[in-house]
């Protein structure tokens, strides 16, 4: 089967409008969490969020195109355009029937649903726009990316809540291995900082309510963590068969070594506290790579800042890696970018690959008081330089869905 490599990266995050800005912010420990501004949240228990500020869709598309997209699609298309530039993939040279797009999205165009539902109640069914359905469907990010880039290969969304983006990358990798495509645009995009999402997550007690100290609210693995901070963004990778990448002399940022996916078969929203389901996904990714757990040096953890996830994930990592778990450096990007839901696996994979490529691991901020249940090295004292060979990236989602991907420093 063909080897699969990463030849392009892009990100729009609450800490940067592009890849380089986001990465530098991450290394410097900058929080993207602030007062929630996207709607009037004065009546809400949670009034903070990790928003993408200063995003101007018209820098990437025409005004008309932007009007025909929910914000999650605007973010996806903007980052896809930056991805194509970063990868140097020339659509006039590449057979674009061999290039697909799998873009994870947890909820879809929720903002669109809310807008038109209000309109329906206020003005009746004749006022619901013909663009309502095409704006909201979760696979429209992949669809719009195909229109924007000319990619005519496999085109779909993966939707597995907060693991959507990582599943997108995992199955895009499989498509290249199986010969269905030579290149795949993949990752995740999400933008649901909306009244319905915040009230729904609030009802579940899933969100942090540390409204007075926004930049301190997201604190994965800290004893005083009290829920996740909702974020938005897009993180995409270009995966490519090694042959295709070498032929066009592309810059190779990492190799995809293995992918694992599993289910808890346990509860709708709570992770199995034994960590068994999470461990299954991590083990499968390592097994597929044909390496031993001791060869993995770094984990970009799911680390959401919820009581349950961070304890279960720590337990699962210890289950998989045994004593070696204490020798690895982990990190939780969500401490700065919040939880971007379906985009998280995309964004955090982008940063995992950059860690391998630049030999730098960003820190976990706000880890001030260690939790006895979370006793690994989460890189709590700022970013570190470390030559790493294998980096694992985890994403877990409601429904008890788990995904893990293993990236390898590239050598021919």
């Amino acid at each position: 089967m063909p080897r699969v490599v990463v030849t392009g990266l892009s990100a729009i995050t609450p800490i940067g409008g592009d890849l380089e800005t986001s990465w530098q912010s991450l290394l410097s420990g900058k929080s993207g969490v602030d007062k929630l501004m996207r709607f009037d949240c004065s009546e809400y228990a949670t009034r903070i969020a990790a928003e993408v500020r200063d995003f101007d869709a018209s820098s990437y598309m025409t005004v008309k195109e932007a009007r025909r997209m929910d914000r999650f699609c605007q973010l996806a298309v903007a980052s896809a355009k930056m991805l194509m530039q970063h990868s140097g993939l020339d659509k006039d040279v590449m057979d674009m029937a061999q290039c697909g797009a799998i873009i994870g999205c947890g909820l879809g165009g929720l903002e669109t649903i809310e807008e038109f539902h209000s309109k329906l109640l206020k003005s009746g069914p004749r006022r619901v726009s013909p663009f309502y359905i095409p704006l909201l469907i979760a696979n429209m990010a992949a669809g719009q990316i195909s229109i924007a880039t000319g990619a005519k290969g496999p085109n779909l969304a993966t939707t597995s809540a907060c693991a959507s983006g990582l599943h997108g990358i995992g199955y895009a990798y499989s498509d290249i291995m199986l010969g269905r495509a030579k290149a795949m645009i993949c990752g995740g995009a999400e933008s649901t900082i909306t009244p319905m999402a915040v009230s729904g997550f609030n009802a579940m007690k899933a969100l942090s309510t540390s409204n007075e100290v926004p930049e301190k609210a997201s604190r994965p693995f800290d004893l005083d963590r009290n829920g996740f901070v909702i974020g938005e963004g897009s993180g995409l990778l270009l995966l490519e068969s090694l042959d295709n990448a070498l032929e066009r002399q592309a810059t190779i940022y990492a190799e995809v070594a293995g992918f694992g996916a599993s289910a808890d078969a346990y509860h709708m929203t709570a992770p199995d506290d034994s960590g068994e389901g999470m461990a299954l996904a991590m083990r499968q990714a390592i097994r597929e790579a044909g390496v031993s757990p001791e060869q993995v040096d770094h984990i970009n953890a799911h680390g959401t800042s919820t009581k349950l996830n961070d304890a279960s994930e720590t337990k699962a990592i210890k289950e998989v890696f045994g004593r070696h778990a204490h020798d690895m450096i982990l990190t939780a990007n969500k401490s700065m970018i919040g939880h971007t839901l379906g985009a998280a696996g995309g964004i955090e994979s982008v940063f995992s690959v950059l860690s391998l490529y630049h030999s730098k691991i960003p820190g976990t901020i706000n880890l001030d008081t260690p939790d006895p249940e979370c006793d690994l090295d989460y890189c709590a004292h700022g970013s570190v330089s470390r030559n790493i060979r294998y980096a694992l990236c985890n994403s877990f989602g409601f429904g008890g869905t788990n995904a893990a991907i293993l990236f390898k420093k590239f050598d021919e």
Binding site: T62, E65, A66, P130, F131
Partner: protein, 76 residues
């Protein structure tokens, strides 16, 4: 603002084009690049703005900016 100006403003807004492209004789599809979904939404926006009802049969005859202006003038 005159009715004519208001119609043109809606066309500019809905189709995401610049104001100087919109002439009275402009055809929505051929000249202004509208597709079938654009047309449906354009008609809806005019119904809402001018509080008129434009049934599907009638809507199919509104192919130019002038036709829209004439219809609204006659039915408002």
């Amino acid at each position: 603002m005159s009715l004519e100006q208001k119609v043109k403003e809606i066309v500019v807004e809905q189709l995401g084009i610049s104001a100087d492209e919109v002439k009275n004789e402009s055809k929505f599809v051929e000249d202004l690049g509208a597709d079938s979904l654009d047309l449906t939404e354009l008609i809806m926006a005019m119904e809402e703005e001018f509080d008129v009802e434009i049934d599907d049969e009638k809507a199919q005859e509104i192919l130019t900016v002038q036709a829209a202006i004439d219809f609204i003038k006659a039915n408002q």
